[in-house]
Structure formats: C-alpha cells, structure tokens
Symmetry: C2
Subunit: 342 residues, 2 copies
DNA sequence: ATTGACATGAGGTACGTACCTCAAATAGCG
DNA sequence: CGCTATTTGAGGTACGTACCTCATGTCAAT
C-alpha cells in the first residue's frame, strides 16, 4: 500500500486530474459540491501531498534574509556560523539565505537595510534587533508588503511579527535565579546583576524572571540594581572592578547579556573567585573555558543551531501560508555546567 | 545562477548525459579519464545532487525497525510516542518504521524478533536493549546481512553496531554528581544510589561518572553502594523505605535508572523530604510533577525527539552508504529544574 | 431554445534525476 | 590491418506534482 497520489484521488472522487489539481491548489472554478467530493477522497485515502515532488515541479525556492547586529559578542558570530552551517545542508531544501548586518548603535542603518528588502526577491526575514520605534515601523512596512517576519532571540511583540524564535527569557531568568539560589545555599550576601542594555527586551525579561525567583525562594540573598554595560568590555571591567572592591558581601554575579568575556577576565584574577557564584548566558568559547576552569558555575543557553533551523522551518511554512507545529518550534532553555559541556 | 544540474555537468565535461549519470551513480563502463573530467565539472560548478528529485525518480523508501523493551517505565512509552510523532512528519521523507517490542526478562523473545528481520524488507534497525551474548549474536547476524544497526539510549559497543544514538552516560552521571554536590553544599552526609540493573550499560556508566565527580570534587559526601531495583516498583518502595528508616544521615538520592515513580511516591510522604536532594533521569510526567512540587531538584534528561530523529537520519544515511555529520548527531545531556521545565 | 457563464475533462509540458535500450564510436589487441 | 571489447551517445520512460490550453459539458436566465 504505497502512498496515494493525485491520480488515486481523481479515480476515487470520480473527477479528472485537473479538477483534483484545482482543489489541491485552491484554484477557482470548481463547484462547492465537487470540492467536497475531492476532500472526502483526500481524507479517506489519507492523501498527503508529496512536498518534494511539488517543490520540484513548482521550481520553488525560498529566499530568506537574516538581519543581525554587529555587536562584538561571540554569541552573534556563533549565530552567523549556525546560519552558514544550516545553509550547507539546506541546498536540498531549495533554501538560500543572506545575512544583513546593521551597526548596533545606528538605528537608521537598520531601517535602511530593512527598506532595501522587497517582496519580489525575499520570501521571509528573521530579525535579531532591539525593539525601537524605527524598527517597529520598518517591520510594519515589510509585513504590509506581505513578507513573513520572525523575531530572533529577542522578541518584538508589538511589531506584528509572525513568530518569535528563541527561549522564554523570563523563564531563562528564573532558571538563573533558581541555580543562583541553590548554589549559594544558606549563605547570605548580595548578588550583582550585569545587563547589556535596558533597551534589549530579552535582557529586561531575564532580569524580571531572576528577581521573581530570588525574592520568592531565596529571600536571604540581596539582589542589587542592574548595571548596564552596553556590550562594552571596558565599561564592564570598570564596573566589576569597582563593585568587587567596594562590596565584600558579593556572593554571586548574574551576567544577563550575551557577552561575558570582560567579566570572566576580571574574575579570573580576583582573590575571592572561589567564593563567588557566577552564572551567565550563551555557550561560547569564553563561557566554555570559564566553565572548565570552574570560574563560571552555570551557563543558561539556547542552542543556536535549533534557533536557526526553527527560523528556517517557520519562514518556509509562513511563506507557503502553512501552519506550524508550535510545540516542535519551542526552543529549550539549556543549562550547561562543567560536566555536561559537549 | 540557479543550481547546476546534470545537464550542465554534461555540457561542461563535454560528455553525454548518460555518461554523467554513469559517473554519478558509480555505474561501470566509463574510462578513468572521463570520470575525472566529469568530477572536475562537478567541483568547478559546485554541483550537488538534488536528493529530493533523485529519491522521487528512484522511488526510494526507507523501511526501518525500532526494537524496544516492554519495561514498565514511562521513558520507553515516551520513546514510542516520539517515534510515532516523527513518523507523521516523515511521510515526506519516504520513511516508514515499525516498532518491535520484546519482553524485558526474556532474551529469547528478543533474539527471535531480531531473527525475523530480513534485508529484503528492512533498511535499518535501531535497538534499545541490554548487552547480552544473545543480543550480540543476533546483531552480528543482521550486520552480516548488510543491515545497518544503531544502538539506542544504551550503547552496544561490542556488537559491531554502526552508531550509537544517545547521551554520553558517563558524562550524564558526572553531571548528576556535580549537581548533587553543589546542591548539598558543605553539609556532609550520605547519598543513596538506585540503579535499575547492573546489566544495563547506561546505568553502569552513569554510576561510574557519578562516583568520579563525587570522589573528586565533593569528598565530604559518602556515596553508598548501588541498590538494584530491576525496574520493579515494589522492590524500589521497600528498598527506599528501609534505607530512609535506617540511615538518618541520607542527604541525597540519585536515581540512575529510567523510572522514578515509586521513589517519588515514597519520598512525597516522607518527613525529611525537604532535607534530601533528589536527582534522577529522564523527563516524564512523573519527574515533571516531582520537579514542580520541589520534590526532585534536578532531572538529567535526553530529548527523545532528538534521539529518534537522529536515529532516522543515521539509518537513512547508512542505508545509502553515506557518511554522517557526527557533530550534528550528538545528543545533549539536558539539565531540567523546576524553572526551565518546558 | 438560445446564450453566456461557469465547471470539468483531456492532454500536454516541465522540474531534476534514475535507469533502460540500442546504436555508434573508440580503444586495445594481435 | 581487422577484430573484439569497451566506452560513449542518443533518446526514451518514469517518479509525483504544478500549471497550461483548449474543448466540451452543464446550468440558469433570457
């Protein structure tokens, strides 16, 4: 019992192949009654369109665009590599993608990049950007053009984006809080929180989740106000150095942003390194090394490979007007410690 | 510049389509010199075979078999569901799979099931079974028949299996040990270890990893000898109840096996539940609930969806005589706590 | 009953590859 | 040189679907 084909449908519904084709591809010119007959045949035979044959016939290809910041943190380059990697194995999927980079500090550059995109040569856009009014407008224009959009890593909920690919950042912050509390144990003291920017929605959400858990489950620990570093290593170095000097009661540091290099470097040479629990985000060479050295205690991470593959699947589906299996597209919050480092 | 096709190759190499086809499919009757010409064209044009078109033409389908125990633990049924789920979305991949179940206690049943498989109607086999001499022989016969084999979840290293799909269980045990030590903190006491069977290689490896880390990094904690429960809930209940009664110094329990139901049930009603760190394996309804109730502190898990999809990919590749990207097939050791429960 | 709008059928070509047959060209051999 | 064995070319069909054209069928309003 091989898979039923369009010919089986035609036979069963008592119509011609052309009519089946019209129904399957929602082309006009078929009576409602006939449509029902064909749909009945589809259901009873359990017909599923052979997507590969369909794409072959249709000469369909998906032209996707990834819009990424040029932030000097390893996470972004890891994301770039994952896109390149995914692209390699996706020649078979008739998918091509290009990466557009925008300068992190310059919102106009981003908007200009987005304006350059056109429905005639792009089938979908994935964006990793902060949620500013400029971005909102540019995305609204793309949507008006009928281009599917997914937000990547950091959500853009008020822009009309079709989907968000990334972790639940509140839960990620809660997870960081849970581990921080458990690792600190019944010692009391203060925890420092370092964010990259209060503009970045993912950072804000993580901080929120972190505070929820710390206040709820570990009240003996005092969580200090956020220090903003704008992904600048010099700023980070100064902030951390000052804080560690002035506050001997620090027992933990939570690095909310995507970069941890400067932080790790300062801590490596600090006398109290053993006594301070360090938890950060994103698995990169920096955090990997820090875990191995026992300098970091845990890293909360999102698998960039999964993110990129999910973005591809979602954009292809949206571009075909298909639904997605949301359950399958959920990105897990990964906890990485010294021992489960791959 | 669309993808080059076989016709472009023929044109470039100055040969006919038939010759290109002979070279691509390694058919005989082509001079060495001509083969080189075609291969040169392949490289310079960057030709990649359109696998979907090829499969369409070839009418290729993959008939896979999953061999699973009937152990009464939720993990196995989760695995079953994941296979069914994967199968749904894999109609497009021309892949069909059936599940063969063998009775856990009866090695002959397993061997009989394996004997029934034949190269004429199966293109690959995935096996989740303990490593016994019977199993070894049966697998050797399948291999001799030319059927690709992957071991699932628990490795079968001395059977000639083509690949192992699952986590590094030593690292998984080490991860459990790391968390156990960190969560216990500087309290001293004893940790109970519950395994399902010393025959199951994954259990043995996890125990090994656990001991490595406990001895190396947390020497103040005393790790007790393994208690075997053979996946029997009554046995588990008795073992735990007795141990908790006799040893008030227990500060942690590590459940090595795939099932945790009985253990969780005993602990739920125990007076010292707050004081005992409980770490187990595999995310199921039982362990999910236990995490939510703060009864379990962490679960080390392997994503069954990933495992099944990886098994599919590997078997398809092996069946086509292709290589696999081992890096892409690595299954991560997931740490799940209350807060990153999906 | 005629007209026109719409519904359907029949048949074709195409996508990129696999695989087949048969004839023709070429190479290697004595 | 001729002979045979091997290599190559030409052309076909097939896979399952998309999409096109043109002819014919049906139906309701006039």
């Amino acid at each position: 019992m091989p898979r039923p084909t369009v010919n089986d449908l035609a036979k069963m519904a008592g119509v011609s192949l052309a009519t089946v084709d019209r129904v399957l591809n929602a082309r006009p010119g078929v009576r409602e009654k006939t449509v029902r007959r064909v749909n009945l045949a589809i259901e009873t035979l359990g017909y599923v369109r052979d997507v590969t044959a369909a794409n072959l016939a249709r000469q369909r290809s998906y032209r996707l665009v990834f819009v990424l910041p040029d932030a000097p943190v390893q996470f972004v380059s890891t994301l770039r590599e994952a896109i390149a990697e995914s692209l390699k194995s996706s020649v078979a999927d008739r998918t091509e993608a290009k990466i557009v980079t925008f300068s992190n500090g310059n919102p106009h550059a981003l908007v200009k990049s987005l304006r350059a995109l056109d429905a005639s040569d792009t089938d979908g856009v994935a964006i990793f950007a902060p949620e500013t009014p400029h971005v909102r407008d540019a995305i609204a224009r793309l949507k008006a053009d009928g281009i599917p959009i997914v937000a990547l890593v950091s959500d853009l909920p008020n822009t009309g984006r079709d989907h968000f690919v990334g972790i639940d950042n509140i839960a990620a912050g809660r997870t960081a809080g849970f581990l921080m509390g458990k690792f600190i144990g019944n010692t009391s003291g203060s925890v420092m929180v370092l964010v990259s920017s209060m503009q970045a929605r993912d950072n804000v959400e993580r901080r929120l989740g972190f505070d929820q858990v710390m206040a709820g489950s570990f009240p003996q620990v005092d969580v200090l106000p956020s220090l903003e570093n704008h992904d600048d290593e010099d700023v980070t170095t100064r902030l951390i150095t000052d804080m560690l000097r002035d506050r001997p009661d620090i027992v933990g540091i939570y690095a909310v942003g995507h970069g941890s290099r400067a932080l790790v470097n300062v801590l490596r040479d600090h006398e109290r390194r053993e006594a301070i629990i360090l938890i950060g985000h994103e698995l990169t060479q920096v955090t990997r090394d820090a875990l191995r050295e026992d300098l970091m205690d845990a890293v909360i991470s999102q698998n960039v490979g999964h993110i990129v593959r999910s973005a591809f699947r979602v954009l292809r589906a949206k571009s075909d007007g298909l639904d997605i299996f949301s359950a399958q597209e959920r990105i897990r919050i990964e906890i990485v410690v010294r021992e489960n480092l791959i």
